[in-house]
Symmetry: C2
Subunit: 169 residues, 2 copies
């Protein structure tokens, strides 16, 4: 079956190399708008965001992860948080963060940009909060590194559907 | 900005009332395919699925949630699981389940169907596993109730973007 939405889902790739072209602020807002249209339990909308384009902050953030070259090479970063005051159920709020991030990644793809979801940086989430001058009640979920892709030759693969489908009743 | 992917993200609604029309097995597989193209940490692909259309099983499942009328009214259910043997990080795997579910909901919308994400049923997840005859290593993440929408007049709302954007640096 073909449909632009299905195509985006199947063709989206993690993009780790970016050109020097800037990402427009309007696009960054559109990406966040896509994120907040994710579903959340009780519609609690627990997600929060920080947009980072400042060189010094990027440099500091790059020192909190193995993926320093991606953080430095990205033209913009969006840190995705949960506001723990807005949370109601840990598992469901984490799921909702995932839905939000997926919407953002699909929006990035739709806008002709590229991004990668950085999770390893969570090991230093306290340090990230400190660099971004955020209270401890904001719990880092991921950092998206965003820019214009150098190329779109990335390969990806999934196991066959039947390996995931436990049963049909 | 307009793009079919952004439109789907903004126009998707939770659909709770379904017509009597069946959902084709090919569509149910396509929805699962969309789910498995979600990103996962280390590409561990921890999601698993059960498709349920059997009336007796639906009746039994309806008794595990307040939303019994939705479960009974849906033409198909897809239970989304994590295989705990495949997990590597609780927070990231729960996020990944959320990404997977969001892809599925967007695919549902793209295919002209409707669905609602049922989470309250997790309170009885052991009973759900028992009804579906699944080992305890499968951890229920959500049940999607799927069918053809009676209408698409559902309203939804989000706070303003600036309420989510903590800062731009």
């Amino acid at each position: 079956m073909t449909h632009p939405v299905l195509e985006a889902i199947y063709e989206r790739r993690s993009i780790r190399e970016f050109t020097d072209a800037e990402v427009s602020p309007a696009y960054l807002r559109e990406i966040i708008k896509a994120g907040i249209w994710a579903p959340s339990g009780l519609n609690n909308q627990p997600w929060r965001f920080v947009i980072i384009t400042d060189q010094t902050k990027k440099q500091q953030l790059s020192e909190t992860t193995h993926y320093d070259h991606i953080v430095l090479g990205a033209k913009a970063l969006i840190a995705v948080y949960l506001d723990t005051d807005a949370m109601y159920d840990e598992v469901k709020d984490h799921q909702s963060a995932g839905s939000c991030i997926e919407n953002m990644l699909l929006a990035v793809h739709a806008l002709g940009l590229g991004a990668v979801w950085l999770g390893q940086i969570l090991k230093k989430k306290d340090q990230v909060n400190s660099i971004l001058e955020l209270e401890a009640k904001y719990d880092l979920m991921a950092v998206l590194a965003i820019g214009h892709p150098v190329h779109r030759n990335q390969k990806s693969s999934r196991k066959e559907i039947d390996e995931f489908l436990l049963k049909t009743i």
